[in-house]
């Protein structure tokens, strides 16, 4: 990058003074951001910072190939500005969110409607995109679904069995997470971060702790970084195993479904072995980890991990060997690589379209600077690819864990954290099991949070599910949905 770059570069899990972030007239910021995204950068976050009755827009983008992030901001703006979405579709939800939160209108946005807000009785009580015609019918599903699952509303436009268009309306799970962070961190903040998405506790807790550490200008002890990386892979193994079971259940292949249901619990219990909680609550804290793992505990962890990995290997083999499973997975819910790139998909959903993007590899922070697994990619973009990428990641996470458990660093597990720097911006990305988790914090003059932005991978990926359903039979919705397995609460915040 030349020094004339409109963005200021920074590495993952670092901070820089707010005053140094390049400031542009809003139209220039949109133009520069669109240009960089057009050259292959990705939009990690786009949000507003309230300032004197107006809003400053902030763009955080990632240059994956250069292993660097970049940030720029606009001058305070009120009223309207030219939409980034019109040039780069991956900004579509970010701009809707800014509009919902600040009233700033992105002119030229093709589908400007609320993201989480209740319009009357429920989030879905707004207009949906409709297809007209004598043979067209509309199917409305949710918010309450037939299963033990979070709520959301799906609106299908169908011609017979074929889905012409799917629109997804969320917001039912909105708990006010971001709003509560201003003026923080508060007493409950760390706990709230652990349940931004309750199945991604380690991912979000690590991102939040990393932001606080970057603001304080301190690194946690190496042993804490190692333990966080171990817990992150255990979280990935548990969820991917559960997803493989759920996928086989949705195509009525029950041997793998029932075995993986149990093995998923075995992985959760390994996290519980580390910290007492199956979801990793209370393990990560700013400045390190709350608990250490003594040699005897690690020996038990290794032993049980080896057994669980062997079991999931076998249970998955049954599924891959079954022609009936393969034929139900192949060519269902296909997204092409170009579409995935334009929409800014992340995580396994992006890697299943052949895109090589993984925060652990592209923007390594913490222990991942020292140890990495090969990025798992599959090119076909369908349900098969999303299942296959999960399976490859189970194998590679297992391999990485086995290696790293034998390479533990000695030392302290936590350190006292200095106070957060004032008027500073910090960014932390973590590759959670669903993909890129992005936390951005901006402090005020007292070092408290002036603005805190959370981007769960689901925020990028729900549109991928909507697109995957185009031209599919509506009866394929469950297996397509399961192949993404996105978070409702992580999106709704």
């Amino acid at each position: 990058m030349s020094t004339a770059s409109p963005f200021l570069l920074l590495a993952n899990a670092t901070s820089l003074p707010w005053a140094e972030v390049p400031e542009w007239p809003v139209a220039e910021l949109v133009r520069h951001t669109a240009a960089e995204l057009g050259r292959g950068a990705r939009l990690c976050a786009w949000f507003g910072v309230p300032e004197a009755g107006a809003t400053r827009l902030v763009a955080v983008i990632a240059f994956d190939a250069d292993n660097t992030l970049a940030v720029a901001r606009s001058a305070p703006v009120a009223g309207r500005y030219p939409a980034l979405t019109a040039l780069q579709p991956q900004a579509h939800l970010f701009e809707r969110e800014v509009w919902e939160q600040s009233g700033l209108i992105p002119e030229g946005h093709p589908w400007l409607k609320p993201v989480r807000k209740t319009a009357g009785a429920a989030p879905a009580a707004v207009d949906f995109f409709r297809v007209d015609g004598g043979e067209i019918h509309e199917v409305a599903v949710g918010p309450v679904h037939a299963g033990i699952i979070e709520p959301g509303h799906f609106r299908f436009q169908c011609a017979g069995e074929e889905v012409l268009h799917l629109e997804i309306a969320l917001g039912y799970q909105h708990r006010g997470v971001e709003r509560a962070l201003s003026g923080g961190p508060h007493r409950a903040t760390m706990s709230q971060m652990e349940v931004v998405a309750g199945d991604t506790t380690i991912g979000h807790a690590t991102a939040h702790a990393s932001v606080l550490e970057a603001l304080a200008g301190a690194e946690p002890p190496l042993r804490a970084q190692w333990l966080r990386a171990v817990a992150l892979e255990l979280e990935r193994l548990a969820n991917h195993t559960g997803d493989l079971g759920a996928l086989s259940n949705d195509v009525a292949f029950l041997p793998t479904a029932s075995a993986c249901g149990k093995i998923r619990g075995d992985f959760l219990n390994l996290t519980a072995l580390l910290c007492g909680n199956r979801f990793g609550r209370g393990l990560v804290q700013p400045g390190g980890c709350r608990l250490d793992a003594e040699p005897d505990r690690l020996a038990r962890l290794r032993e049980r991990l080896t057994a669980a990995l062997a079991e999931v290997e076998q249970a998955s083999a049954w599924m891959w060997d079954a022609a009936s499973v393969r034929s139900r997975f192949e060519n269902i819910g296909t997204i092409h690589a170009r579409q995935a790139a334009e929409l800014g998909l992340v995580g396994p959903a992006a890697r299943a379209c052949g895109l090589v993007r993984d925060v652990r590899y592209d923007h390594p922070a913490g222990w991942h600077r020292l140890a990495q697994a090969p990025v798992a990619v599959w090119p076909s973009g369908d349900v098969f690819a999303r299942a296959r990428v999960r399976w490859l990641e189970v194998q590679r996470s297992g391999q990485l864990l086995t290696e790293q458990l034998a390479a533990q660093p000695e030392g302290e597990i936590r350190a006292e954290l200095p106070p957060a720097a004032p008027d500073t911006l910090a960014v932390a990305l973590v590759e959670g099991w669903r993909g890129e988790i992005c936390h951005v914090a901006l402090t005020d003059a007292a070092g408290r949070f002036r603005r805190y932005k959370i981007v769960d991978p689901s925020f990028h990926n729900w549109i991928g599910l909507a697109l995957a359903l185009r031209g599919q039979a509506i009866s394929d919705f469950p297996v397509c949905n399961k192949s993404f397995n996105l978070s409702y609460c992580g999106f709704d915040l």
Partner: protein, 270 residues
């Protein structure tokens, strides 16, 4: 040969359903700690060491009395156990902690050091549901973990079906509503509609700290602060999230399927 391979593998795995409740319960993880026991009589005058360390402000100390700890707000982080210099708050290692009345989760006073475990449903309801209970689950701001550990009860290890308990898709088929989450305002209407769609008689079960008290989101204007603000709750199952064993114990207790009413022999932590 694929079918034979699958059958062979399946046979080799054998029966994986746990012996509990006829045999011993599976051990809780040693760092879990289980339910807390709070002996407020041990609190010296003026001591408030535990109050500021609780992330959800679950501990209060009314003037002139010992502390009161609300297990319905508790995240089981044990920060208070570490902070207390007087041994007034200890971990029991006991997985059993479901109660019928909200106040039974408030611990501290003499005679109220531990949770008062749930009684079974009374005669008519117990007769109706004791051998067949159909549940509809609604996540109202839930974070996915409580939902995951409810799903776990349906897996082969726990096999909820052997007790006649089953999660159903339609509220029309349900005897009970299992709610997770602090009841986000955006889900309030859907939750009420689900409840209204269920035939009488019907019960409500609140699972997890958020559903019981709002948990880490208590006080947020975006949530109602627990299920009881919206519906009459028959069973409170504490935890963040509750261990599957705690949930199963609560359900069986409610149906009068467990006999160990005493608190004398908590299973040892391993």
């Amino acid at each position: 040969m694929f079918v034979f391979d699958t059958i062979t593998h399946r046979l080799r795995r054998g029966c994986e359903t746990m012996a509990y409740p006829n045999g011993p319960a599976p051990a809780l993880p040693d760092r879990h700690g289980g339910a807390l026991r709070v002996d407020a009589a041990k609190c010296p005058d003026g001591c408030a060491e535990c109050l500021p360390v609780c992330p959800t402000e679950a501990i209060t100390r009314p003037a002139g009395r010992g502390i009161a700890l609300d297990l319905g707000r508790c995240l089981f982080c044990a920060a208070c156990v570490e902070a207390c210099p007087h041994g007034a708050i200890i971990q029991t290692g006991d997985y059993r902690m479901a109660v019928r009345r909200r106040e039974d989760l408030v611990l501290g006073e003499p005679g109220r050091e531990q949770v008062r475990l749930a009684d079974a449903l009374d005669g008519k309801l117990r007769k109706l549901f004791g051998r067949s209970l159909r549940l509809r689950q609604v996540s109202a701001g839930g974070n996915g973990a409580e939902e995951a550990d409810l799903n776990v009860l349906g897996t082969i290890g726990w096999d909820l079906g052997r007790f006649g308990i089953q999660f159903v898709a339609s509220p029309r088929h349900a005897d009970g509503l299992v709610v997770t989450g602090p009841v986000s305002r955006n889900m309030e209407l859907a939750l009420k509609k689900t409840w209204d769609a269920m035939p009488e008689p019907k019960i409500v079960i609140a699972v997890g700290a958020e559903a019981i008290s709002g948990g880490v989101f208590a006080g947020h204007p975006e949530v109602r602060g627990g299920v009881a603000a919206v519906l009459p709750v028959d069973l409170f199952i504490p935890g963040w999230p509750p261990h599957p064993l705690t949930i199963l114990d609560g359900l069986l207790r409610l149906l009068g399927r467990l006999e160990d009413e005493g608190r004398l022999t908590p299973p040892p932590a391993t």
